[in-house]
């Protein structure tokens, strides 16, 4: 790989930027697994394994260990993704031994319909009454577990808006920092949300208050854009860097090797 490979790309799209950012959260020695409709995380895992983290263990769809998919398929929960695996892990009896254990599978990329200023997530219902909601969302699935099992959660959100980033979630389907401060800790819960990667910015959580904080803004995105697209007041440091661009090599790998069909684009502008 030539030195130029490490040069920041000039020509990249926001999906490629988000994949690059997500991939940098994963290192050799981590184990990563993906759920359904997770084109950006899957691309990020594949990218990390091809670049800085060849030793990142990947459990595709939480069942196919160390697979060798040709490319990102049309679903992140189908057999083409776990092709040529070294192990098919059974879910009920086996996967949860490792996922609950605390020594393995400590980092998860997760999405939610609503995320609030303290990183609490809602994938259950929009509206006041759980049993006759305004909108019935898909449901918490494994997210309600990961939020409480001491995992480090990396949220991705391709549609940064006041509807998806709200002051308070209508319903807590997955624990973030609850009311903020030490509330999560006091409940005996380790880990928690680490970052939120959106189509506009990268956000994290202010260590004391646990309030969501702007870490970096994507190229060409202004503070006003971000404020207008966020349903609550973000903690905004005095100077906010621009999100580091992907390298030319990262962009090439994403476009030519990992996701030539552009499945990653499907997540945007829903």
């Amino acid at each position: 790989m030539s030195g130029e490979a490490y040069q920041e790309a000039r020509d990249y799209t926001v999906d490629e930027l988000m994949i690059s950012v997500l991939s940098n959260f994963f290192e050799d020695g981590d184990q990563a697994c993906n759920g359904m409709a997770s084109f950006l995380p899957v691309s990020a895992f594949m990218l990390a394994r091809l670049t800085h983290a060849p030793g990142l263990v990947w459990l595709a769809s939480a069942t196919g260990l160390e697979p060798r998919p040709a490319k990102v398929p049309a679903s992140t929960l189908e057999s083409q993704l776990w092709s040529d695996s070294v192990m098919y892990m059974e879910q009920y009896g086996d996967f949860w031994n490792y996922a609950m254990n605390g020594r393995w599978l400590q980092k998860f990329c997760v999405g939610a319909a609503q995320l609030d200023m303290y990183g609490n997530a809602n994938n259950s219902v929009i509206g006041a009454d759980f049993h006759t909601p305004k909108v019935r969302l898909p449901g918490t699935a494994g997210l309600g577990d990961m939020g409480s099992l001491g995992k480090l959660l990396y949220y991705w959100n391709p549609n940064h808006s006041p509807r998806s980033l709200v002051e308070k979630v209508d319903f807590v389907s997955a624990a973030g920092y609850l009311g903020g401060g030490d509330e999560r800790e006091d409940l005996g819960l380790a880990g928690g949300p680490q970052a939120v990667v959106t189509n506009l910015a990268v956000l994290d959580f202010e260590p004391e208050s646990k309030r969501m904080r702007l870490r970096s803004a994507h190229r060409g995105v202004t503070m006003d854009d971000i404020r207008a697209a966020t349903g609550f007041e973000l903690v905004i440091p005095t100077d906010v860097p621009t999100t580091p661009a992907p390298t030319e090599e990262q962009v090439r790998l994403i476009r030519e090797v990992i996701d030539p069909d552009g499945m990653r684009k499907r997540e945007f502008g829903r």
Binding site: H131, R136, G139, A141, M146
Partner: protein, 298 residues
Amino acid sequence: MANNKITSIEEAIATHVRHGDVVALQNMATQAAPMAAVRELIRQDKRGLGVVVLVGGIAVDWLSFAGVMDRLIGAAVTMEQFGLCQRYRKAVEGGRVRVEELSETALNARLGAGARNLPYLPTRGLIGTDLIGQNPDNLRLVEDPFGGPAVVACRALVPDVALVHAHRVDAEGNVQYKPTTLWPDIGIFPKAARKVIVTAEEIVSSDILRRSPDRTVLPGFVVDAVVEVPYGAHPTSFFPEYRYDSDFHLAWAKASRDDAAAQEFFDRHVLGPTSHAEYLSAAEGAAMMSRLRGREGV
């Protein structure tokens, strides 16, 4: 020695599923749903069913649209890339389907306790969420008698019937999968349920199963009925045999947004066909099959 459990899908559903039953339904979004059994539930106009799913898909959408189910116990319902299940959404939002939403570990714990005749099993998931307070009948935060952290006790759940689709089954109900990932539900759904109906791509002799006994995942003694239904999971996938039918899912996703269109689709594909063969031809059987096998590349 053989206890022959082979029957028809009509007979199996008529005999083993009663109105009001809690039915555990194998399903993982667009994967591995026992769709032939699901359509038969609808054709027989079962009423008041509770449906247990890990991640429900088009099956739950159809059962909701048909008014067969009035409650769901599960972790999620979605058709993944084909979007949310609109008919299920409408039914829930209209108060016609009541949801008991559980995380995966909580659902597994409820079913695991049911299988093992324990009053409950604990999880450390869900702590801090609104899902515990929402469900006091089945989830309780309890202390650890050894002074450790509190756990969420998940009350035993014993479904009346489990519906399972498999690659191979023999007449006694021994179930085998071809090398592929095992669907999450197989690990526990049929073991917790009082009765088990198995539909399979193929009914084979026990001698075939004896060639790879390590791939038998369910012993015949838990199974009540065995039915051969090739493409029995269509339009969901059944790897490595065939993948999900994208065109079919897209067509339903589109139709489901409009009452008349949904009813028309339903009449053509669910209520109309009087047999599985008719269903397959309505779904362009041969063409569909080769398309799905081809695209799966197996």
